[in-house]
Each structure stands twice: as C-alpha cells, then as structure tokens.
Symmetry: D2
C-alpha cells in the first residue's frame, strides 16, 4: 500500500515538518500536474508557481546548483547570473523542454504586452528527466497544451505525489519513482519560517538505496536490468526565509547531500539540478528606484536552512517513491513500488 | 558600400588570417543560413556544423564561457559538464530556441533509432540574441522548418555575412549588426593550425564602439535611442588544434577580450556566450574501449590560441557590422550601416 | 580499542578495497606525518607526495571541488585553472598555511634553480582545518621545520591514522577526528586500477553521524557542547586511472557524497575541499613538444571512479575516527573516541 | 616626465573621475606602501584598508572574479563563498604571500582575543604578482614586518603610484609597471556614488599595448625580450554603492574588460584577479539578529558600475605605467617608462 515516508516510520533528520509536509507549506506556492497515460506512454508536466501573481512582473530571488550537469534544462544560466526567476517552473521529460518553453513564453507574452517591445524578453525555466525506460519518449507526446494544463491546475494545499505529472514515468533506484515533496519548519528569533522541497525523482542504481534506518531494499532483477544510470533528479526548493541569491545558491547545494544520504553518487548520466527560491522581497520588473531595501539571513544562521534542505530533499524522494505504485510501461518494462518492499 | 574589415584597412592583432578568413578555414566546419524578411520581420537561423558526419555519433570536444549569463540559450550546461557537443549548433532569436531544439532533436532521433531506447537522450545546442528592435519578435515566426532549412543549407567555403540568417535583425553599437566570421593561422612545431570564429553580433551601446585604429564612429541619434543594452552576442569558435575541454574553456574565455577591445563591457542585459570546439579527436558515442588516446596542446603554448581567439572575435564582429547594410525594421526602427560611417 | 572501520564490521559500499585500503595503494604515493603534542597543543602537518620525483618538474594532472569554501587553503585557484599540481600537498591547521607555503616554496627553489630566473614561480598547495577546539591554535606553534619534517617522513606502505600529523587536533561529529585513508580497486577492460583517499576529518555536528549500518552514535554532552560547526574536512584523492583534469574535477565532487552519507550537510563554517590527482601522464615542466599525447577514461565509464570516490571518502572518515583515541586537549576540552561507542 | 594618464591627454571612457581620481575617493578607504630597494631588489607590499575600523569585526561585502587563475593569492575561496572580506588586503610578490598571511593573522589575533577560542579563525586576503624580472624574487626579502609597515602606512588622500610598494618591481607590456589608481563618479537617483580601482599592473606582452587614442607604443627590444608572459595583474575595486555580493562579483568581472581594452588577452601565465567590495552595510561579526536589513542596487541600473569598473581599471593601469620611471633591475634587466614614449 502506498503512503508517505512517515507512514512507514521513516524519518529524515531532526527538524519538524510543516503542516502539509509539502512545498506548499511555503505560503503562496502552488503545484499543478498534467499526466498522460496511454499505451506505452507514461509522462506529464508538473508546474510550480512561486506565487499567484505574474512572475515576470514580480520575480523571485533564486539560486541554482548544478549537482551534475548531464541534463537539458532551459533557463538556468540566467537564474545563476541574475539570481532571479521570472516565470513559473515547469518539470517535464527530456523531449518536452521545447513545449514547456513555448507555453511559458506564450503566457508571458499574453500577460505582458511590453515584452519584445519596450522591455526585453523572458527567461523560461523548464527542467526535465528522461522517462524513456517506462514511456515512449521518442513519441514526443507532450504538447504546449499539456504544459498549459499543468500551469492551470496549480493549487496550494496537498500535493499529489508519486506517478503523477512529470513523475508519471520516473524510475528511482530500480523502483518506481515520481514526484514527491516534504517541508521543514525553522525557528529563528522567535518566528517560524518554512522550507519546502519538491522533487522529480528519476535517479539511482538498483541496489544503492539506503533508508534512514539503514535498510537497503533491492528490487527484483527483472525490474532493474544492469545498466548505466540515465536518470536525473530535479529538486525545487521554496522558502519564506529572507535570503540573497548567493545564500539561495548555497542552500540549493545542500539538496545534493539529501540525495547522497539515500545512496546516490550523482551518476554521470544523471542530470541532478537544484533550484531554490524565496518568496520574500520579490524583484519588481518595472522598479523605479535605483536602490531597493532587502532583508537577508544572518550568514551565521544559515546552517538552519542547510539542514532543512538536506532533510527535506531526502524525505521528498522517499515520498515520491512510496507514493508510486507498481508500474508496467512500454515494451514490458516494469518498476516495482518501494512500498511493496517495506 | 559594405565589405569586410580588411577592405576598410582595419586589422585586428598580429596573427595571419586563414585563406577565407572564416570559421570554415577549419576543415569540415560548415555554415548555413535561413533568413526571414517580411513586413516588420527580419529574423532567421544560422547553423554551424562541426563536421559533416552525425554529430551525435561523433561528438566534438568543447568548452563554454558564459561572459554574461543574461540569455536563454539551451544546452550549455551539459557542454560544460561533459566537455562535448553532440548536435549541430543553431543560432536564432530569443523566442526561436524551442523551434531550434525541436529541429535538432528531430534530426537526432531520425538518425539514431537507439536514442530513447537503448541509449540516452540528446543535448541540443541552440543559442540566441534578441532581434526585437528591428523585428517583431512577439510574432514568433521562426519554425522548426526554418531551423531545418538552416541546417540543410550548411556548406563550407565563403560564409555569407551581415544581415543574413540569425544576423538578419541584429543591432551592434547602434549600427546594424549581424553574422560575421574571421580566422587565424597558428604555427606550432612546424605545422599550421587554424582557429575560426563566427559571431552573432547584437551588443554594445551607441557611442561605445572603438575601431582598431582608435576611431569611434557614432550613429545618428535616431538610430540609437538611449536605452539600456538588451542585446547579446554569441561567439562560436572552431579549431583544429588538439585540445582537452578545459583548454577549450580557457580559449572560449578570451573571446570576451575581443569584445572588450571593441568597447563592450558585457552589459547587464546582454547574453554574451562563447562556445569553443575542436574538430580533433571526436568522441565516439558507442566507444567500446575503457581508455581512449588523445592529443592535447602543451599548456605552455596556449597563448597562441588565446591571442587568436581575441583577435578573430574582434575582427568577426567588425565583419558582421561592415557586411550589413543600412536597415529599416518594424515600426520605423532604423539601424545605419557602419560601412557608411567609415 | 581503536581500529579500522572493517574491524568493526563497517563496510562502505560495494567495491573492493586495495591491499592496504589506503591512498598508498596508488603506486608512488607517499604520506608523512609530523605531530606536535605539548601542554594545550595537539597539532601537526601531514604531507602527501603524488610521486617520489620532483613534482615541479613532473606535475600531476588534478581537479578541485570546493564543497564549501569556508577555508583558508592556498594554491587551489591555480590547480583549478591549469588542472595540475606542482608541489607535494601539505595538510595543517588554519594558522599553519604560511609555514606550509614557505616550506614548499623553499624546497622548490632549492631543487629548481631556474624558478624566478628563467622560468616562472611555483604554486604551493596547503590545505587546513581548524584544530582550535583541542589545541591552542593562537599559539601558532607549527613552523617551516615541522612542515619539512612531514615532507621528509613521507613513505609508502601503511599510513598511520587517527590523531597523528594534521589529524592530531581534529574533531568529527563530536568525537575525536583525525587522518584516515581508504582505497578501492576498479576493474576496467581486464585491468585493475586504484583509487585512494586520505582525509583530514574535522567536521560534523554531534548527533548527526550515521554509520553504514544505520546506527547513530552520539557522544556525551560534555564532549559536544552545542555550537555552530567550525570544522572542515580535506579530502585528497589519488588514482592511477588515466584522466583529464575535467574528469578529475568531476570525481573530486563525489567525495562530497561520501561525507553526506555520514550525516554531513557541509555546514557553513566547514571548509570542505576535495583535491583529486592522477599519477598517470605527468606534465613535464620543460616539455618541448607543442602537442603531447594523453590517455583518458571513456566518459561512459566514469561511474566507476565516482562510486569509488564516494565509498572511499566515507570509509576514510570512519577510519580516521576509529583510529583516534579518547583525547583531552586545551582548557579541559575533551573528545571521546568513536571506537569506544561501538 | 612621469605623470598621470589625463596629464598626457589620455581619457578612458565617458564617466567623470572623482576628486582624487583614486580608490580613496571611496570614503574610508586607505592605501599604504612599503617599498624595498636594494641591489637587485625592487619589491614591496601595498595595503588597502576597506575602512579604518577592525575589518574582522566589521567585514565588507565583496565579490571575486578570477580572470585567469595562474596565481598564488590567498583567501579568495572564502571571499567567493561568503561574499565578504574580513582583513585588510595586501598586495605583494609571489613569494611574499606567506609573510602577508602571517601579518594579517597576527593583527587579527591581537585585536580579537576570541579568535581561536570562542569564535572561528580568520581569512587573510593576500594577492601577488611575480616581480622576478626586475627583482631577485628568490631572495625572499619581504618579511612580516614589511607587511605590517604597509598596513601602518595606510592613509586616505592621494595615493602614491608607479614603482612603489608592491609596484616596485612590476613590468607591463614591456614597460615599467607598478601601482595605479583611478575612480569614477556615478549619478543615481540624484545622489553621487563612487567607484575606485587600484591595480598592481604586471601583465601584457611588449607590442600589445593600445592606448585609448589608438596609439601603440612599443618598448625597445632590449627592454622586452621575447618571452611568454609570466606577469599578472591584481585589481582591487572599492565602491560606496549598496550592493549584494553577487552584484559585486558581476562588477569585478568587468575589470577584465578594462584590461582587454589595453591589449591584454589574459595570458596563460598571468594571474589576473579582481576583487570588489562595498563600504556600505558592513557585516557585523557578532551580529545577534537572525535577519539583517540591506540596501542593494536595482539590477537594472548595474550597467553604471559595470561601465565605471571597466573605465577605471583601464585608466588605473595607464596611471601605474605613466607614474613609473625608467628602471634598471637585477642582472641588467631594464624596463623603460611609458611616459618617455609618449
């Protein structure tokens, strides 16, 4: 029976989770899925909205960590340079990046008539994993309309996990992977702050998974043919801590520690990317003032979000796996559910 | 009358150019253009083929330098991680990146049935500048077919320069920009090696241009309304020197010196990117051996390609500008030709 | 009773260790210690020699990963730029970096009269951790002579571990830390290659340590006062695999995964650095040829050293801790031995 | 007759200089020199104080750009990670880095008894160029006392330029190099901000120098034997603009454009480093609050300091060269003055 890590007694680290134990514990963040299931097709898009306004007009401060750059994501270079995100974030499969870009550009153009006229252009943020083991990725079935459907489905509250949206065709340590999420609450100066993570988990070799209690579940051989890792994992981290982009970059890096604790070594063929943003102090596109005020975390306290990032990433991956059922895909390919092995 | 920099007596640096003074002086490299001209539309694609074979099967060693990361290019992250390019390179406008990806993915899938089945996916390399000053970029007129047309047009020999292909709508220092190319011959141990550069030149503020002889031509005010730079410049560098990817990255960085010599300071809104590859020692996708031999340049001699990279970049930009005629674009926008100011 | 991880039944990962399970399993690599023990003083130097020749004349190919840059190491910038190491490597405490530089410069000048005359200068490589919890670091007791003593003591064979050399004053997860080492054998194309790691382990918060079997030993409260991490960990990785420097950089990065598996999140105040080098294809300082041949690993096989790097790092840290006895230092500070808690 | 660039009619760019046209136009910044002149010895230290207080207790926000990493500077890694500087900055020669570290550590320990006891350690910032062409660098004549003398000499007001302090033994484009400085005033929202640069100029091949007016002065052959560049250039940039460290890093990068405009291509053997800091919003070491307020520049206005950085760097190098007289050094080595060639 599928569930969440804590339902199985698996606790990652020491910080308390938020009310939903989800990225949506960060106020304003919304998640939407579009899932395609057809013969030989298990794929989809997942959208993460940093807030409910127009992200082009109110950009969010962000940082990027390329844990291993074997990937085809679009938009990361500008996020790293400017420390900001100016569209919703889309997760899809490797060959859906173009459709994702088109959807985000289309929405930005529709909402901002000045783009390409009196102001510059727009940087779409689309990340991806390869779902070709379970799904016919050569069919290139994901369309602009599918990306738009994921964006339109975005909502706060409980986040559907497992084999949904961009998680439909994922594999993880030889088991079924998918979308998962988790969060942590951080107490600072008497106030509570939140840090949430959402992962698209498609990484890890069969036999390498280590649970927080030391168990090492291994899928049956038929589900995990020996092969070099050609997965990937995307980690999206949201927080309501006030941070500058350099700090967000440092925090994003710690998501890699969460992956390593599960047994990953960030394999050659795995595009492992973490993107972190804060909902605090958005950057106004048409800002008139030359100098703008900003609150930032005292760097001496940054171990708190570092710890939260590692813990939430580790738990989000387990949530992705434990929510995903035993799945048969294209050409007889099969991924068992981790939940059936606990 | 348009021409090339040397026709105007402008010499950049001290190394001799190759026979064509073009990126195609590097044996095997081919360039193709697809240009769209219509009411309010001046745009296009330019394709650079590292060699005439299947680039997925025989990848070229490469390095990337992000001079300023305000840009929407696709594929750079994996080039940086793996030090290799596995598709032809497409240059287009900012909103044509998705079409470019689709074209490259389509070609790679058609030529390699194992992609997405028994092997991984493919990393498309598409770079861009914003041609929105002269062309209606919101119209999103460039299609997958246009990208394919540029790829199909690729040929060796003389490279059409100026307002062609992805250079159709470019602006540069308030003048008309475009596509330009130049090359240098490098003597080493009694052998001749070649280094060629192709630029998509769309950067620089009016009034900042400095010619190699110290002149500072300025366009008339109507052609250069005061505005923050929202340009970009893409530099593609090819060589037949044997190099490892770290060396190619170092060489790519020196393209920025060539830009700065023209008066650029790599403005905030300018996505300035250099990609360098060598045609030597391609990486075989289905390589069976665990260890592969490679020749590399003695690092003590690397000033030679450093110098060539800076000189050829500087000259390629001048060639792009001097080949481009006085041009009127959308909504009465106008860019004069630098050639008319010399 | 102190010992090594395998003596306690602790196995990290799946690859087999080399004969010594030490960095000295890589032929030619030598390690030497100089330890200072006095009232309130527990400190020292550890030297790693990539080979027994003059490293300035025969440099080794290398890569660097700055896992967390809160550190005062000297020499890393040039290693990253040139992909080469040209002196032995010294590990010391934070305030001994200058003494380490002086020792390495002195040796290089003595052995190479052309330095500073007909050739350039020399890049010393000195890394450090803060041993101020157990030792009086303000006393600045380590001298150039101590660094030279460590260099002179360098030998192959079994490596003394635990509270020796630069490990004398280390702390790790609230326990006594120190110097540790481990290795892995990698089979490729019917040949055996070796990868060895040596760590200076001084990182981790009490309560965060996770053993490979899932146990979580916690030191008594007196030994682990709650405090922000001000440790660090240095990882030196040697291999006889033929690699280019970009590959070595990728491999160095995976040492961070080994640390994370132990419970680290690469804390703010912890300078976590990995340096990787190969003994294959040294770079001859006075190389006359313009082009030099090189063998490199097929990138498709790089998961093998990735896995070895993560496993050996994890095990080397455990070896460092388990070899170190219960230790009392300055001002009543105390670190218990992990070996006493298993 | 020596002088400054503007005395010779050489103007770099378009922004106005500050009252002193020096880094000391940024309020609080102080510069001090210690020069050693003896038979065969032309060397020294130059100190830059970001402010007159204890820099460990009030750190300044900073960014680093490694233009070319062939250098032996100490302290840059931590500046890049934390975005802050916590000691004065010392410039010296390549083999004086250890003495510089010792001086800075000694001062920090003396002023802050809690270092190494209740708080962590301290990150010294020492940068260097190789003065071995004119001076006997193997003699290692610079001592801790010399570094302290430079620190003690630090003052505001006019900065001595040319062959003083760390500039004593510098060479530049085959001419005598040295220490130079320049500044720019930037108007923003009706207020004036300042950006100043100080360079230690020791780079460039004879024959490559280009003046802002297009002239290309070349030293006589005896002064510029053909040889690979083994120089370096250090650029220290100070400003009173409010900036976050990511912005300072972007600004530091533009110093490289100033160098390139002079004809540099950032040669292989040249350690070209830029460090930028702001005097605004210092970071309090013992900060108690978890969240701290900060003003930052609107990123859309960052072209202003970009331009200022490039211009001031270019002019500071010319000032360094034009202030330096014809100089004879060790073993008959000779560098003519650029001022004698205009």
């Amino acid at each position: 029976m599928v569930g969440r890590a804590r339902d199985f007694g698996l606790i990652c680290g020491s910080l308390p989770p938020g009310p939903l134990n989800a990225i949506t514990d960060v106020a304003g963040v919304a998640v939407g899925h579009r899932t395609l299931r057809d013969t030989g097709i298990l794929t989809g898009f997942t959208a993460i909205l940093p807030h409910r306004g127009d992200v082009f007009r109110e950009k969010v401060r962000a940082g990027v960590e390329v844990i291993n750059g074997f990937g085809k994501s679009a938009g990361l270079m500008q996020v790293a340079e400017l420390g900001q995100i100016e569209t919703p974030i889309l997760l899809g499969n490797t060959f859906s990046v173009a459709a994702g870009i088109e959807a985000l550009v289309g929405r930005a153009l529709a909402g901002n008539p000045e783009i390409g006229r009196s102001t510059g252009t727009v940087n779409s943020l689309v990340l991806e994993c390869n779902d070709g083991y379970l799904s016919d990725i050569r069919a290139r079935r994901l369309t602009v309309a599918d990306a738009e459907a994921a964006l339109d489905a975005a909502a706060g509250g409980t986040v559907p996990e497992g084999a949904v949206g961009a998680g439909a065709g994922m594999s993880c340590f030889g088991f079924k992977g998918g979308i998962g999420t988790a969060s942590r609450v951080m107490e600072l100066d008497g106030r509570s702050f939140h840090l949430g993570v959402l992962v698209q988990a498609n990484f890890g070799n069969a036999g390498d998974l280590v649970l927080p209690d030391g168990r090492r579940p291994v899928p049956a051989a038929d589900a995990a043919p020996p092969a070099p890792e050609r997965g990937s994992v995307i980690v999206i981290l949201a927080t309501d801590l006030p941070l500058e982009s350099r700090q967000l970059t440092r925090i994003a890096r710690r998501c890699g520690a969460g992956l390593a604790r599960l047994g990953a070594f960030w394999g050659n063929g795995s595009g492992d990317i973490a993107v972190a943003f804060t909902t605090k102090a958005p950057i106004v596109h048409h800002e008139g003032a030359g100098i703008v005020p900003l609150d930032v975390l005292n760097e001496n306290r940054i171990d708190l979000p570092f710890r939260a990032a590692a813990e939430a990433t580790q738990e989000a991956v387990l949530n992705a796996m434990l929510a995903a059922p035993d799945t048969h895909g294209r050409d007889g390919h099969h991924r068992p559910s981790l939940a059936d092995h606990l």
